[in-house]
Structures are given as C-alpha cells and as structure tokens.
C-alpha cells in the first residue's frame, strides 16, 4: 500500500495534478495540460493550453469555451501520457461527462468528476471502475439526501404542468441550462402545451441535438407563440433568469425549481417558489456509498461537497480516506 504522501494525484494551487503524466484534472487556474471531466463551468475553465475530454463532450466544450485546443478520447480508449495510461469512462452526470482513469505501474486511480447512478436519457450511464485510489465528489454526501425514483419525480412535474395548464397558467421550471434542462426535456415529451426554452437553455439544446441526443421540439419566445398557448406552456429557464424581465411575458405562471437541494423543506421555502422537485444530476448518499464500494478502492479522497462527513464516515468503515480541498462549486447555488 502506498503512503498518502506518495499518491499519484496531488493537490496543487492550480488544481489536482498528476506528476507522472504532468497534467491536471479539472484545474481551476490556467495550466499547460488539462483533462476535463465535464463541461460545467466550475470543472471546465478557460485559459488552459491543451484540453483533453471525452469525445461526447467535445461539442459542449467548444460551445462553452470557444476555440480551444482540444483532444478527445472515446470512452474506454487509452492514451499514454508520460508514465501514465489515461482513459475516460462514463460518469452519467451530463452529456460527455467522464471519470478519469490513470494507471501508473499497475496502480489505478479514478477521479469521478461529478456523477450520478440514476438513469438519464441524455447521457451514457455511469460505469463503475475497479481501482486502488478513488477520488469522489460529495455534493450530496449526507444521509438526508436519498432521491425519489426519477420516474416518480417526472410524473410529479408532468401532473403539475397539466394542473397549471388547466388553470390557464404557464409552468415555469428553473433548471440548470446544461444537463438538467435537457434531461427534463427528453423525459417530458407530449405535454398539454408547448415547451418554451430560455436562450441559455436553447443554446445547449442545439448542441445536444447536433450530438445525436433526441429532444422533443422546443420553442423560443420570439417564435410568436400566441397567448393561449403560452398559458399552457412549460418554460425552462436557468436560475439566473429569476427576477429578469424575460419572465414577465409568461404571467400568470406557477414556478418551480428542479434540484437535489429541494429535498429539504427549508430550501424550498427560502426560494419562495410554488414547488420544488427533487431531481439531481449528482449521486445521493446511498449512490455515493454504492459507487465507492463498487470501486473496491482502499484509498479514497473526497472533493467538493460534504467532504468532512464523507471522510469521517469512510474512515469509520476502515478505509484510508482523506480530503482534497478543491475549488468546485458545492453550495446550493451550484449545479444540483
């Protein structure tokens, strides 16, 4: 067994670094070579010289970061970088999200990035990887976070949309523009009215469609949708649109937020929204434990989220657990 100070991954000011391959994974400061797990803004930042990501993520990466020097790998395809053998494996989080596997002299490290185990029609499902060191996220690393079945939540949203349409008001759902919005869209075809997307959401829809993900037809507000149709519409907008004049045209509407944070009543009430739907692109507590267990790893490092809780819990299970203080989003404002 390796001692902690000899881990093949170390924390540096710019991010998590692999000395054997001289590259970073999801660095938060500009570096020479960055392997990116997925295109959410807190994991994929601009300013690096060379990028490496999963082939399925390439379009989103370019849409978000512009003209970058990007190399891609198919899931499972190996690449030798220095002394390290790198491969990417589906993380089930959003389109193109990957776990990063790094093999050095028969020792395997896997960095999870963000991941979930629930089914998602818009991305490849999470594939558990056996490894010696597993670096896991812990966004929802508390036992209070246990997701209801996603089909149940989708039904709740659909029923709510139908009720609102019957009452003559639009259904406005705040969702993260990249990932959650498309997951909802793909699950909510054939509702009582049109689906209208905020520009930030529609931009990502185009990338998903171009990448071969089937999404139901959506409309933009400037399509000239008549008022009657608007009152039956499902409107998807990013949380940043809250309070913006863009929403004015949909009045009267009922509003909701779809996120794992909605599991706790206080979070729902604080937002003063009509509804909170518990739908997350992250693993809940049981899924985190299940994923960790499936790796068979004896050494664990925990990143963003409830780091201290996860570390202590794993430690009490007899595992070598520690923390990496990363700069990824972890508060209720982050992607949930």
């Amino acid at each position: 067994m390796r001692r902690s100070d000899q881990l093949p991954i170390e924390l540096r000011p710019a991010g998590l670094y692999c000395p054997a391959g001289d590259f970073y994974v999801d660095p938060w400061r500009p570096v020479e070579r960055a392997v990116i797990t997925h295109a959410h803004a807190d994991h994929a930042r601009s300013g690096h010289v060379h990028y490496l990501c999963a082939a399925a993520a390439a379009d989103v990466m370019r849409a978000r970061l512009g003209d970058i020097r990007l190399q891609t790998l198919d899931y499972g395809e190996p690449l030798v970088v220095g002394r390290a053998r790198v491969s990417l494996h589906p993380a089930g989080h959003v389109l193109g999200s990957a776990q990063v596997s790094i093999e050095i002299d028969g020792h395997r490290t896997v960095l999870s990035g963000d991941y979930k185990l629930q089914a998602d029609p818009t991305c490849a499902p999470f594939e558990p990887q056996r490894c010696d060191l597993f670096v896991t996220e812990s966004t929802f690393g508390l036992p209070i976070y246990r997701w209801p079945d996603s089909a149940t939540v989708i039904d709740q949203i659909r029923n709510w949309w139908h009720d609102n349409a019957a009452a003559g008001r639009a259904s406005l759902v705040f969702v993260y523009a990249f990932g959650k919005a498309q997951r909802l869209l793909a699950s909510l075809a054939d509702g009582p009215g049109p689906v209208v997307c905020h520009g930030a959401v529609e931009a990502l829809n185009r990338v998903y469609r171009a990448g071969g993900v089937t999404l139901p037809p959506t409309r933009a507000v400037d399509d000239g949708i008549d008022r009657a149709a608007l009152q039956r519409a499902l409107v998807l907008a990013p949380p940043s649109a809250a309070g913006s004049p863009w929403l004015k045209r949909f009045a009267p509407y009922a509003d909701a937020f779809a996120s794992g944070w909605m599991q706790v009543r206080g979070q729902r009430r604080r937002r003063a929204l009509d509804r909170g739907f518990v739908l997350s692109d992250h693993a809940d507590w049981p899924a985190l434990l299940q994923a960790i267990d499936a790796t068979g790893a004896e050494t664990l490092r925990v990143t963003h989220g409830h780091v201290a809780v996860m570390v202590r819990w794993l430690h009490e299970q007899g595992l070598d657990a520690g923390a990496f203080e990363t700069a990824y989003g972890e508060q209720p404002g982050g992607d949930g």
Partner: protein
Amino acid sequence: MKRFAALFHALDAANGSRHKQQALLAYLAAAPAEDAATACWLLAGGRPLRPVAAPVMRAAAQTAADLPDWLFDECYERVGDLAETIALLLPAPAPGDDLGLRRMLVGHIMPLRELSRDDQAAGLRALWRQIDGDSMLVVNKLITGAFRVGLSRQGVVRALASHSALAPERISQRLTGLLASRQPPGADDWYGLTAAGDDGDTDALPCPFFLAHPLTGEPAPRLGPAGDWLAEWKWDGMRGQLVRRGGVSHLWSRGGELVSDRFPELLAMAAMLPPELRIDGEIIVWPADAERPLPFNVLQRRINLKQVGRKLLAEAPACFVAYDLLGIDGEDLRRQPLASRRQRLEALLATCEDPRLRLSEAIASDDWNALVEAREAARSRGAEGLMLKRRDSAYGEGRSRSQARGDWWKWKLSPMSVDAVLVHALRGHGRRAGLFTDYGFALWDRPVSRPDAALVGFAKAYSGLDDAEIRRIDSFIRRNTVERFGPVRTVRPELVMEIGFDAVAPSRRHKSGLAVRFPRILRIRDDKRADQANTLAELRALMPAEPG
C-alpha cells in the same frame, strides 16, 4: 392519514390565503367527520399533550436509521427540524393500512405518552415502520408538536364557516370550546361544530358593531348644536365587544374573531360583572398607574401572540375602555337613546373599581370651540382625535347609510389615513440596500363584497417603519412575490398598512383618479386582512366637500 398528509403538503406549498382556503375546503368536503374535526382542531392550534420527549424521539430515530451520533447531528443541523430530519433519514416503510388522522393520533401517537422510555422508543420504531413516506413528516410533527402550516385560527374559522354556511362568529365560539381540550375532537364534535341553528343558553355571539363615519372639515354648523353630541376620545386600539352569557365571558374583535384567550386579564376582570351583559368598547394597553395608554404597536404584540407570557402581561397590560352598554340582564338596550344607555353604563361601572375596565371619558361639549380645542389636545393624551355620537341615537348596525344623517363620527386629527394593501415593492439604497424598502399601495375600486372588486394602486410610500419592521416586510415580500418587472416586484395582496397623508385631491395622472400628499406608513395592520382595506370611494370621501 394520507389525506391529511396531502392537505399538509398542499397548505405548505400554497402561496396565499385563497389557495390555503381552497385546499382546506376540499379536505373538509372529503374527510370523514372525525378527521375533519381533528384536522380543524390541529390547524387552529389544538394539541395533545406531548407524547414523547424530544431526546427519546431523537435516540429512537438514530437507532432506526442506524447512524452514528455525529452523523445524525450533522443531518439535524442541515435540516433544522427534528421531525423532518427523521422523515428524511428513515428507510422508506412498506405502507400498511391507511389509518385516519384521528385514529392515528388517538390510537397510535397519544398512547405513547403512557409508556416507559424504552417502550416509547420501541413504539416509535413500530409506528415508523407502518406509515407511508408522505405521512412521515406530518406524523413526526404531531409527535414533536412543531406543527405549523401558516394557516391562522381565523383562516380555519373562515373555511368552516364557508363549509357549513354558518356565521364565522358562531364557528369561532364553538371552536373555542373544542380548543380548550387536549383531546382531539370526534365525529359528534364535528356535527356540533357545523350544526345549523343557535346554541341556546350558551349562545354568546357579538351583535353587529355600530361604526362611525370619518368627519372631515368643521363640525359646525353641519352637526347642529354641540350639546346634542357626546364627545369621547378616539383611542387607537382594537374595537371589541365583551359578551357575558350565563356568567361566561367572551371577548370579540370587530372582525368577528374571538380573542378571549389573548386577554386573560380582561376575562378575569369581566368575571366581576353581571352574568348577562354586552359592552362595546376598545381594547388598549393601559397600565393601571399610567395617565395615557401605550401606543398601538405595544397592543399589537398582544394581538399577535396566541399565548401570553407573564412578562408580556406585566409589560403590556390590557384595559377595556367601555363605550356603550348594549344589553344587561337579558334586556337589549340598543334601541334606547345613547344618553340613557350611557347613564346605565356609568351606574354599572361606578360599582366596579378595576383599572382593567375604564369608562370612556365624556368630554364637556357645550360649544364646538371647546371641542376643537379638545381635539387638538388628543395627541398629547395618546388619542387619535374625537368620537362624536348623537345623544339621542340608537345603537345601529355597521356604518349608517347616509352620511348626511350620521349619528356617529370619528373626528380624527390629521394626518388623514387609510388602510391600504401592499402590492409592489422596490429595493432600497445605502444602509438598506438589498432590502425592500419602497412600497406601492392599493385600495379597492368598489366595495369588497362585489365579486368584481379589484385593487387599484394609489400611493407609494417608504418612510415610517423601523429596521425590524422593514426586515419583516422584506421577508414577507420575498416569500410573496408573484411577478418581477425589472427591479419592481408584484406582491401577493395580503399585507395591510395604514397610510397617512396630508391631503387628497382629484388627479388625472393617477389611475386611481386621486392624488395624496406626503403619503407615509403609519403602521402595519396585522389585524386586518386585505379585504378589510379601504376603498377608493372612502379615500375620495376624505376630500373637502365641493363648494356649492
């Protein structure tokens, strides 16, 4: 239990009192009688004795969830509520029989109280295994007692009144009887609560209040000789009616709410009065040795609290200022002239020396000049102005139709004021940056009884509140925003404030057709609902009469 859990979640999610009313009405229509009774009892504030102490419950939950101490604490800290933490942590149970609300409470929750601590823990774990996920939170809240859904007792009364087509006052009185018990009411109580007809010997409903018109301009010569009028101070308190029936006292607000529980000292005082009695008066905070009453915001603390502590009772002692004797010993005095009612009121109070009951002072009124002077002095006495009541008038109902022949006038000091509904809000600057400090207010465009009545904006105001009040309003606005136009928020029309101003004049630029000068917030009227706010016509009536 599922039905009540669904009601709980609907009330929890509903924004605005109308949606809450609808949810409760739907529940009352569908639920079995005993559950409907128990639901109303719970929502109006009824509670069983706490069946299990919090530490016992916490320990049982930790065992059931199979978590170490520290992790349970982390979760509790994150959630902030024990009942909810437990609901989130326990494994999803296999749903058993769906017991009704009352059977759950009486058959499963309340008996826990009689058990030893160990048996309580086992009993809780057994209970948790058989309730479904949606009911879990509600059942836990019934056990911890932290059961709040943002529906007032008066909200329950309104729903019950509408469900049973009875007067809210009657419902309120009957509900009070049920709430006195720690035992959840059953089916018989439900039939009693909603039965048509009066309550015989125990009937103690208030009679309609007689209301005054605002007097603007000079009283003379319009009102004739000053000697025709009884002049009294107009107090800034809460109008109330003290009803004694069969020796039992009931204190009613003008809004038809039974407020007896909130003023225990007034009930104690009333016990010395004749057993059959009806007095119209004003509830204000007035310490025994003080020359003048304390301002309205002190009374408001009493109104807002359902349970009054000893400290508050000492700091804010209530007093009933008696205006009028409406009935005594079974005799209805309302048709008699005010002068003779007043004589009998004076005689009655002469026998009673209790600082909690004061006779409303009659101000010498030989000529109008003396009264004009008295009115100017009102503020220094803690009053808002004068009340003028025609000495030979009967006690009417509501506001008399014709203003020209008004028998009761309220002759307030300026500023003029109306009760208006908060409808818009804007963020402030500087020290109060980020908080909503600038407000838009609206009045009704026609009597609220009309189905097409709508609120029309009439003034913006921002001064007059202290920091604590601003924070409170700010949080109300955040919770009740219905729409956002750039920086402006549209707020659910629920909060009433009294808006003072110096003058009102016709205006073509304003949608309301009226412009007020120097509008400012005088106080928050938590005691009023939006449908009790003033109308534009009432604002217009404050304008000086047109010449000719």
